[in-house]
Symmetry: C2
Subunit: 338 residues, 2 copies
């Protein structure tokens, strides 16, 4: 049981769902404090029948806080996380800032719960597109060792926050009305369109979002030899990231081997009946916590490949749910150790 938990970024797209999760999962805590930048201070947020006022995120805000769950931009996390650690809190951070820091564990509870050991106050939650992929890959890796992953993503606009979804709707409404749309959140109109760039140019023609899928996957799965070739694409879908994944393993797996492994895996739900037209789709996964897998088939272009389709709610398992699960994991680990 945590005494006091602080939530940083409660009014954002992910923060709202963290609040829902803390309530619906009956998260073990006595008090909740909400912190945000000056702009949101004084806002009132409903939680479990109470009204909580947002307080200022500043160096002294973390006194007597056990746990911080934070969903903020990278630069905000870079500044406040050391304040919280200094005050003795543990920070579960959803930003990208700390993920690749060697002293910071990067955790997906179904995949590498043991890696929380020896944290120094900050535990990072991965990028949304990585989280759902590693949840699906982990059982295959354990059984047959993943060597290479070729992944093409179909990422929802909510990955860019509430503003992303508003822009999707505006773009579509203006297009249907024959009006010109001027994008702000995205670089190009997203309605009836696809944008094959998420993040900025990072490494030899790959974007920052794509390189997160390379580096974070290796760190979470604890295998620096896993090769990943990602292509990240924004699609006109509001919620739910989808991924077309081809995975090559050291030992061959049949499609039915892979299906059994997925079915037995924690956090994975298999929906796979092509002739019955059943497979995961973003509209069906909206608001659910699991990672959904379907279209499981043998790669017909290489001997040791499995191809599959993976969908998950990017605001839930891709962000809020994973962070809350990390916090729950810490409690369980502490209980087991005592």
């Amino acid at each position: 049981m945590y005494e006091t938990v602080a939530l940083v970024g409660a009014t954002g797209a992910v923060g709202r769902i963290v609040l829902e999760q803390l309530a619906s999962r009956q998260f073990p805590m006595k008090r909740l404090k909400l912190l945000a930048s000056q702009r949101s201070v004084g806002k009132e947020v409903r939680f479990n029948g109470e009204t909580i006022k947002v307080e200022l995120l500043e160096p002294n805000a973390f006194k007597n806080i056990d746990l911080v769950i934070a969903s903020t931009p990278d630069e905000v996390s870079a500044e406040f996380a050391p304040w919280a650690v200094e005050a003795g809190a543990i920070v579960v951070d959803e930003s990208g800032y700390w993920r690749m820091d060697p002293s910071v564990p990067l955790i997906v509870p179904e995949v590498n719960p043991e890696a929380t050991a020896n944290h120094r106050g900050i535990i990072a939650s991965p990028n949304c597109s990585t989280t759902q992929m590693v949840v699906a890959l982990a059982p295959l890796h354990k059984a047959a060792r993943v060597r290479r992953v070729v992944v093409s993503t179909y990422q929802a606009t909510s990955g860019a926050g509430l503003a992303g979804n508003e822009e999707l709707k505006d773009s579509i409404r203006q297009s249907l009305a024959g009006q010109k749309h001027s994008p702000k959140t995205f670089s190009h109109p997203i309605g009836f369109n696809l944008i094959p760039q998420i993040g900025s140019e990072k490494h030899e023609g790959y974007t920052s979002e794509e390189m997160k899928m390379v580096y974070e996957t290796r760190k979470i799965m604890g295998d620096e030899e896993i090769q990943v070739c990602p292509t990240c694409v924004r699609v006109p879908v509001a919620i739910g990231h989808s991924e077309s994944i081809l995975v090559e393993t050291e030992r061959p797996l049949s499609a039915s081997d892979a299906r059994e492994l997925f079915e037995a895996a924690e956090g994975v739900t298999v929906i796979d009946d092509l002739s019955g037209k059943k497979y995961p789709m973003p509209l069906d996964c909206d608001g659910k916590d699991d990672v959904f897998v379907g279209r499981i088939r043998k790669d017909i272009s290489s001997p040791n490949g499995i191809s599959f389709w993976c969908v998950s709610d990017n605001l839930r398992k891709g962000a809020a749910t994973n962070a809350v699960q990390i916090a729950e994991l810490l409690i369980k680990q502490a209980a087991a150790a005592s």
Copy 2:
């Protein structure tokens, strides 16, 4: 110069664009005849300032016709194409029915123009998702021999005809209005959603659309050893198919080798400036005849791979334009031979 050309399926999504192309390209013909099933007989279609009445598609309709361009369902083509051949016409057919027939050349003029030789009256135009891919792959194959292709598609609703686009708009309008949408053309709602199935189940978990990309690619590129692993997905985009392609070649190519090959290739336009946020997108390719390529980069997961993003108007190069280009090619070849 053709004396009389017959267009079968002039009132469909692709047929309309064939008409536009015949006019805009000043197609070398003296007369145009329009043929369709009973339902469309008597409809009037404007062409080059004239009004042409649609006539009945029946066994005697092909008398004195030199060339037929046809965009119909498979079963319609299966029936009428032999009538046309019997009457002495050459049929350029966009349906799927004849493509894999060993006696029927499957042609993309930029890739395998020589394969028209020894046709027996029918020449097939490939599936839209295959056509744009082979136009892009051909220069790489010539330079370095393509061994394997991993492709994930992002296919527009117009691939399912005019009804597909109407359903996309209805689905989106109903979703925005909070109303229930009952899909008819697609198996699931397409607005704000993705459907990871195009066509029916065909081969070990792959759909008919996916297997077209395997078989047709081999036939057009004249290499039965090319391995293709496709995933075909319907996206809420009206016009323009996009493809995330990873190609492995026998001899290694650098990203700049690949870019040069694409730039020199007929029918390919390179848009590739990630830091300037420039790459092909469906909205920009709508109404254009070329195949657009960008995000060209070295595969970071294998030694001989190149990854790129490929977009083309599925109704144009994916269908109408390729068929008209085949007809133009036949004229050129006849002129060169005489």
